[in-house]
């Protein structure tokens, strides 16, 4: 699951990363947003969205994306 702050919500962590990049010679990088990735093995992938809604993400402030392998 990829979980990231919703569009429009200030992400100070992303901003801090963005500000640090030019000092390292990485120019032209914008709109950095820092989220998190959760890896898991599930017997029933059908329930993963519910799992995201209830625990892994806070749907008020975060979007999530499920990738199954």
């Amino acid at each position: 699951m990829l979980i990231r702050p919703k569009e429009g919500i200030l992400d100070p962590q992303g901003k801090a990363v963005e500000r640090a990049l030019p000092a390292l010679g990485f120019e032209g990088v914008e709109h950095v947003r820092v989220g998190r990735m959760v890896e898991l093995e599930a017997e029933d992938p059908e329930r993963l969205a519910e799992l995201c809604e209830k625990l892994l993400a806070n749907p008020l402030i975060e979007d999530y994306e499920i990738q199954t392998l």
């Binding site: 962590q13 625990l55 806070n58 008020l60």
Partner: protein, 209 residues
């Protein structure tokens, strides 16, 4: 009045909360695995780092047996006070509107703050948190302002974390559940700079139906 103060693994302010409550009545600790709040009039969900704040602050604590009991307690119209991490837990549990995000400046803040309540009264109470930026969608902010659910704001130019509309504390619609980021339990004795915190406890106790 009998106060119950929850204790999660990782709580760290429950002793001060217990002390504050004992100045106003009888106070006892409630371990997070307890499910029974009978005999308790008001509940305090204290500050700290419940369950290590893993995933998101308050996200795991809300599923504890004690929090199930707190939800029923709140539903019954009885007073619940969430302080700092406790506020985060109550938001995660949908007992209060909004969410608490990482401070705008990314730094943990620890200092005395001036608060203003809905009636214009001023309170000097410490803040200490890294994730205290109150956030809610614009329409929710309008709604909670219209319904007088904004209990405390940071005084002008004192917003320590980038909270929208300077919001420091909110209540639920019924007014019996209050959450705030500042720590009233650390301000109950003039020896430590202020006793304004007691007024927060007293205000909540007065909401009892």
């Amino acid at each position: 009045m009998i106060w119950g103060v929850l204790q999660f693994p990782g709580s760290c302010d429950e002793r001060d909360a217990l002390h504050a409550c004992s100045l106003l009545g009888e106070a006892r600790l409630i371990w997070h695995e307890e499910r029974d709040l009978s005999g308790v009039d008001a509940v305090v969900v204290p500050g700290g780092f419940s369950y290590g704040d893993y995933l998101r602050a308050g996200a795991i604590a809300r599923f504890s047996p004690a929090m199930e009991a707190v939800a029923e307690h709140a539903e019954a119209g009885r007073p619940v006070l969430g302080i700092c991490n406790g506020f985060q837990v109550l938001c995660e549990a949908d007992l209060l509107p909004g969410a608490l995000l990482r401070n705008e400046e990314l730094r943990f803040v620890c200092r005395q703050a001036e608060l203003v309540n809905a009636g214009g009264g001023r309170f000097s109470i410490p803040v200490k948190h890294g994730e205290g930026r109150f956030w809610a969608p614009e329409e929710t902010l309008d709604e909670i302002e219209a319904k007088d659910q904004v209990a405390y704001r940071y005084a002008p130019n004192q917003n320590p974390n980038g909270s929208l509309r300077d919001i420091a504390g909110v209540t639920n619609e019924a007014g019996n559940v209050l959450g705030l980021m500042p720590h009233p339990e650390h301000a109950v004795d003039p020896l430590t700079g202020s006793s304004d915190g007691l007024k927060v406890f007293e205000a909540l106790a007065g909401t009892r139906v």
